[in-house]
């Protein structure tokens, strides 16, 4: 008796909503029939039958949210099977709806991790995914400034390959939300030219892997022209998109470019972890009169965070944030690396080790002062990133800490980075290629000599 499982409809999907059943219990199902519609945070997809026979049981009723991938959702019986029926709604649903929401979270309510000191005390907080935060940041700036526009592959009619720009075509129209052909080199050059003429383009790269096609315009045209023109011709532009490893997409779609762009004078590079920072830094990036590289991460897109409910929440470029206070060891990371850093700090706390976790947020200009101040207190430091280890952001951090805090160090700076190999596809190998929490814990214990 074949059981139908909740399918994974994208490389990073973990759960989805069972929107609608298109077959009823008792219906005969043929291979290729559409059984149901499933909503992910990116799209609504149809589920086709592979097996044939009568639909004997529906295990997850229509309208159920948060159904985990691989949960059984229906059963197709033998040709003469009797229908068993439909599971009662809410009865043991895989992901019961959340209990009635408590009063809205209020900033300053002493969470385990430290809140952003830039948020005024008492500010109401709303839960938002990183995806929604990036969209909100762009939309607010586009409402405020007609010179801002968005261009890229599938940003308009398709509503964004990762649904970042969902709904923006409707709000801003095709003159300001512009689908491009799949020609990164050309459309990046056109966007930079438009920025020379005083517009403020936001260029979405479906992923930054494809921006390698366009890197000549990012570096030679966008980053260097202010200098080459003796200060006459600036280039206010944001290059943004998914960066780094997603899940199981192989070597050509899994590279982290933070260190590449971080090396270039004339560029600013930000790489937010939280939704609050994603929104606030997006607004700062669009307003900045210089070219800004805005590195996102597909795995973080669907992650929810508290975001301050403020009319104009802007996070300054170039300022790190102490995400968790501690006194024994400093852990510095950024972007998705923060997930390892924060989990490691939690584990270390169980062993009585208080780690101070710093989220760099901006790669260039790097807030070394905040890092050095922490290291002067803890005397030990671990730097964490997903990128390749050689000539990396963490190697720059190690060099800067040695230069500015050598006398305070009680151990050499330790680094935890992606492995020095192209990203493999096999699930076990991919896991090995990326950093993990245990490596960060081990590195922290290493610099503490425990």
């Amino acid at each position: 008796m074949p059981t139908i499982l909740m399918p994974a409809l994208s490389p990073t999907m973990e759960e989805g909503k069972l929107a609608k059943w298109l077959k009823n219990v008792g219906d005969q199902v043929k291979s290729g029939d559409i059984l149901a519609e499933i909503e992910t945070d990116k799209a609504t997809m149809e589920v086709e039958a592979v097996d044939e026979g009568p639909l004997t049981e529906i295990l997850v009723p229509a309208g159920t949210e948060g159904v985990k991938v691989n949960t059984p959702i229906a059963v197709i019986g033998a040709a003469d099977a009797k229908p068993a029926g439909v599971a009662a709604p809410a009865a043991d649903a895989p992901a019961a709806p959340a209990p009635a929401p408590a009063a809205p979270a209020v900033h300053g309510a002493a969470p385990a991790e430290m809140a952003d000191p830039e948020i005024p005390e008492g500010t109401e907080m709303v839960s938002m995914t990183v995806r929604e935060a990036i969209r909100a940041g762009m939309s607010e700036e586009m409402r405020a400034d007609k010179d801002v526009f968005l261009m890229g592959e599938e940003v308009a009619q398709y509503q964004g390959a990762y649904k970042i720009s969902q709904g923006m075509l409707d709000e801003f129209g095709p003159e300001r939300v512009i689908d491009t052909p799949i020609t990164e080199h050309g459309f990046t050059g056109i966007a930079v030219g438009a920025a020379f003429a005083g517009l403020k383009p936001i260029v979405e790269f479906m992923t930054f892997n494809f921006a390698m096609q366009a890197i000549d315009h990012i570096i030679n045209s966008a980053a260097k022209t202010l200098y080459m023109s003796g200060g006459q011709l600036g280039c206010s532009i944001v290059f943004r998109g998914a960066n780094g490893a997603a899940a199981r997409v192989g070597a050509q779609h899994s590279q982290d470019y933070a260190a590449w762009y971080g090396a270039i004078p004339g560029l600013k590079v930000v790489m937010p972890y939280s939704a609050a920072d994603a929104k606030g830094l997006m607004k700062a990036a669009i307003r900045d009169p210089n070219p800004v590289i805005f590195l996102e991460n597909e795995i973080l897109y669907g992650k929810s965070f508290e975001v301050p409910k403020l009319d104009d929440w802007v996070v300054p470029i170039g300022k790190a944030r102490i995400a968790r206070a501690g006194r024994h060891v400093t852990i510095v990371s950024f972007g998705i690396g923060m997930t390892y850093a924060l989990s490691a700090a939690e584990k270390l706390a169980a062993d009585g080790i208080e780690a101070e976790v710093i989220d760099l947020r901006t790669i260039r200009p790097m807030d070394i002062a905040t890092v050095v101040k922490s290291v002067q207190k803890t005397n030990r430091c671990v730097c964490v990133e997903e990128g390749f280890p050689q000539f990396s952001v963490t190697s720059e951090l190690a060099a800067q800490i040695m230069t500015h805090a050598f006398d305070y160090l009680d151990a050499p700076v330790a680094r935890v980075a992606g492995k020095d190999v192209p990203m493999p596809y096999a699930v076990n190998l991919e896991k090995l290629a990326l950093p993990n929490v245990d490596e960060v814990v081990a590195a922290a214990k290493g610099v503490l000599y425990v």
Binding site: H185, G186, G193, A197, S221, Y227, G230, Q232, R287
Partner: protein
């Protein structure tokens, strides 16, 4: 082969068409226009000769790409421009800057890397810009200026103004992939851009016939994208101006991009360090004697009694004075302050 014969048929038709256009152009200029063209081309010629001289004296470093021989292209196109039109080109850019009215002193001082250079000495021969004159460089990567120029046109369309972007590139750049990415987007978005292909027959040291398919019909490459094109005698400033008028009219009326393939010739090497051994002295000599853009205008002016030898000598003297003053400034102006190393990297909001 059907495709091949279609190409050959069109090639014949085009050659006939452009010859006809030259005939029309020969009756086109007023005396004032003719004199302006003479003067503007002569300024570029004398300026470039002086730059070559200063390079030989060690006053100019690095790369220096001279425009001598191609003067009619940029001067004719500028005669069709209106306020607010933008221009952008490659590293062979001195002529374009002078033609749009940028200060010869500032250009020359940039060549010598001095404080008073248009980029404060930080750009050099290949990298100068002028917000005031809407000159957007000065780009060192072959072909990169093509999408950038289409981006300037994109801004015109976005703002709904009537301006046109003059985007210049050579026959060498015409083989770059980004040129065709740009043709495609310029066509689908109907961008007001004139792609000016300066076909001087050599991509650095490689003859176009060795590097470029159908190298005598580069404008035709736009046909695949539905972009109209013309092949123009780029040594005849009047033919250039007339074709430019048509292209500009097309762009301003919202009909999208236009391609002008200018058949021209560079007398000097690719850069100052190029002895140009890939072509014969006779080839260069023949071009200079039979097609020189400045001599053509001069002959017409005298023949039509629009100017006397003395009038032209006076213009010549004026130009020499301007160029000498530029060279004097460029060799006496101080180097930029050491502190300039650290300025203009980021713009402060």
């Amino acid at each position: 082969m059907a495709v091949r014969s279609a190409y050959l048929a069109r090639k014949g038709a085009k050659a006939e068409k452009s010859a006809k256009k030259s005939d029309i152009a020969n009756s086109g200029f007023t005396a004032e226009e003719e004199l302006k063209a003479y003067r503007d081309m002569l300024l570029i010629r004398r300026f470039e000769e002086k730059a070559g001289q200063l390079y030989g004296m060690g006053q100019i470093g690095g790369f220096c790409h001279l425009y001598i021989g191609q003067e009619a292209v940029v001067v004719g196109l500028e005669m069709a421009a209106m306020d607010g039109d933008q221009r952008i080109t490659s590293y062979r850019d001195h002529g374009h800057m002078l033609a749009c009215g940028m200060d010869p002193k500032g250009v020359m001082a940039e060549l010598t890397g001095r404080k008073g250079g248009l980029s404060k000495g930080k750009g050099g021969s290949m990298h100068m810009f002028s917000r005031e004159k809407n000159f957007y460089g000065g780009h060192g990567i072959v072909g990169a200026q093509v999408p950038l120029g289409a981006g300037l046109a994109f801004a015109n369309k976005y703002r709904g103004n009537q301006n046109v972007s003059y985007t210049y590139f050579g026959d060498g750049a015409a083989n770059q992939g980004q040129v065709y990415e740009t043709f495609n987007m310029a066509a689908i978005w109907q961008l007001p851009v004139i792609f000016v292909i300066e076909n001087n027959r050599y991509a650095m040291g490689t003859a176009a016939t060795r590097s470029t398919a159908a190298s005598d019909q580069l404008g035709m490459r736009g046909e695949a994208f539905g972009i109209p094109s013309e092949q123009v005698d780029g040594m005849d400033v009047r033919a250039v101006k007339e074709a430019a008028d048509r292209a500009v009219e097309h762009c301003r009326s919202g009909e999208g991009p236009y391609i002008l393939e200018m058949m021209t010739y560079r007398y000097r090497g690719h850069s100052m360090s190029d002895p140009a051994k890939y072509r014969s002295k006779e080839e260069v000599q023949k071009m200079r004697e039979e097609n020189d853009p400045i001599e053509q205008v001069k002959a017409r002016l005298l023949k039509a009694n629009r100017a006397t030898e003395d009038d032209l000598k006076k213009i010549d003297a004026d130009i020499r004075e301007i160029v000498t003053a530029a060279a004097d400034f460029a060799t006496s102006d101080p180097l930029p302050d050491d502190s300039e190393l650290w300025t203009d990297i980021y713009k402060v909001a």
